[in-house]
Amino acid sequence: MEHRGFVTESAVGRDVVLALNGTWFGEGLPPETQQRLATMGQVRRVPLSTEILREGEIAESLGLLLSGRVALRMLVPERGMVTILTVEPGDVIGWSAIVPPHRATSTVVAIEDAEILELSGERLRAALRADPILAATVYPRVLQAVSRRLSETRLQLLDLFAREAIVGDGLRAW
């Protein structure tokens, strides 16, 4: 993952397996899978306002947010940066790292000081290609993360709070 801004490069002395278990993504994965992932990962501290990923650029790592909050933003001409979604601890950042064409679908910015467990996209992709058992274990979690985001986005798309139900002969507050 390419970092901009004030990134602390040094890994925090934390057991990566423990960190994995602190996320719904990694919790409950078989111990051997966690061990494999741990060899590819490190924990990074990301200060507030850091741009972690930019829309359209290559996502170099699959991130699991351990603490803090990051915003997924898209630039809309004449409206500026719009926050599409925020990611809370436990969730995935940069799933594009293992899904072709590996380009980020939004810009990711830390809106609080954050800790991220980063798994190297290159090594993870190679491992998933070479090891069907690992792939069968990890991909469902990735799919779950992506489908969760998809279904929530659909609810957002409904814009439920924008208008009220039309009932009877007029509009009513619910």
């Binding site: 909050r69 940066m81 979604l85 809370e88």
Partner: protein, 670 residues
Amino acid sequence: MTSATQPRADGAARSARPDQPDARFLARADLGALIDALRAEGRRVIGPVRRDGAIVLGEVAAADDLPAGWGAEAAPGRYRLIRRGDERVFEHNAGPTSWKAWTFPASAPLTRVAAAEGETTYEPAGTDIRPLAFLGVRACEVAAILVQDRVLLGGPYVDEDYQARRGSAFIVAVQCTSAASTCFCASMGTGPEVGPGADLVMTELDDGFVVERASAAGRRLLDRLPTRPATEEAIADAMTAVGGARATMAGQPGVQIVGLKDRLLARLDDPRWALVAERCLACANCTSVCPTCFCTSVLQRSELVGTASGSTRTWDSCFNPGFARVAGGNFRSRTRDRYRQWLTHKFATWVDQFGTFGCVGCGRCIAWCPVGIDVREELLAIAPPIAPSVLRPSPAPIAPTPQEFGTARVTATRHETRDVVTLVLGDLEPALLMTKPGQFVMLTLPAFPRLPISVSRTRSDGIELTIRSVGPATDALTRLKPGELVGIRGPLGTGWPIDAAVGRDVVVVTGGIGLAPLRPLVDAVLADRSRFGAFRIYYGARTPGDMLYRDELASWMASADVDLHLSVDRADESWLGPVGVVTHLFDKASWDGSKSSAFVCGPERMMQATATALFDRGFHGDRVYVTLERHMECGIGLCGHCQMGRYFVCKDGPVFTLAQLGDIFGREGI
């Protein structure tokens, strides 16, 4: 024999029995005729007798055996006979024995085992008893007999010995005309008026007894007694006397049974269990004197020659050290665990098992506890009832017809967002000042349709309504100025059942203007904060600028009493809080929904998504409350607009549990 009632969950007063027109009067001098008639049927008559410094239950051969002129005083750890200045025979309350000594004796033979010529046989010991008659069974004790009926006869397997004894018993009940300091039948809903289960019901006066039949057998017996019609005066005296016992109990501690089961089970870790265990001797007196305790053990006795043995059922007690012992350990080795087992069984788990409380309020366990432990006091400390601010009766609405409307005056207005206004209404009928959280009112302005509007706060001097301008009528309402009048009917509908959440974690999930009907619930929980577990609020809005009550949100955010989470559907860079649907905030949370009650309000599609996320968190449908919005013209169940399946949302709701709604919730076109 009936097992249909007792103790009543509502604790409601029932009318004193002697209001029946065919009540009879039995002169005191003719009481012996009643005993003779029962004995003539071949029955052993059991009634109160004075023995060993107490009024106990024993065999009665004649009226002279009854404790004429004796009464008893009872208090925690104390029981004393007193000499009265009259000749009354039933003017005392529950003594140390109860009728279970005859229906369910402390010791009863079960099985005979014989071994001969290589064969071992098991034979039921059988029950060979004379029919029984119980004379002077108090209301709480009739209730206790029905409780034991449920336990020993109401399931798929019955206790045959109990069945035989109980089935033979003719019950002459007596309504109490005084109450000891230990009595609390009124709060348990079992007395002092005698409910179903008796054959005859008597109320004692100075010169005799008002007697009523309460069964066909009771009528047949009564017909053979030398009675005359009870005068209106005697009936009135009897009712007044029973009312006096009720009044005495109203002035002394009782048990608040509403919500008790849930409150108690939420307190399994209360430090009070250890405190009461410091006093409790685990002597089992309470279970011995309790008229409903039914636990037994089986004793085996062998003859010395070794060819025959017999087993005997004996009363046991959950306080006895070996009660929960197994090879290798004891599940309840500590007194605190045993006391907790007893109290939570009587007042909570019994309800799940048998549909009633296991306590009838006789007070025996209080009087006969050697150290004076009072269950009423322990329950109050461990599972306190909810404060009146939370639990109060539903007020009757003002203007409860389709034609009528009252008026209210706007005393203040406040802009919440660009299209949402909060109106403060004053000059209200008192009923509106008693609006419960979750209730609504119908509002009307001349020439506009009538609208249901949730009450967003109940104040001492008025109510608040938070209204979003979405059409001509709501637009007119949001433009009202202080001093103007509005037509009003209410309060209407069910409220949030906050009492059912006492002792549990509370989760509020809401979106947009849905926070308005939930704000009174937040007020109520914060006003009684210690009665609830963790309090989590998840509030979603379209944009940060669409959030209601922003000052209050800020204070809740800063408060340690609430765990508030805000989310918006869209935001610019200045918003650093969460963006996304509100369920995004808790669908992967770690807290345990099985210990929580959830209150949800928002667009139905949002509530559906919330329900799914809550079920994933371990919630049960009967612990998730939603409030529904429907077209309403009247608000009182007459116009038919708000029908949803078998409900009218206005009067059966608007608050429902998801379990109530079942699969009609969120279904298209219902």
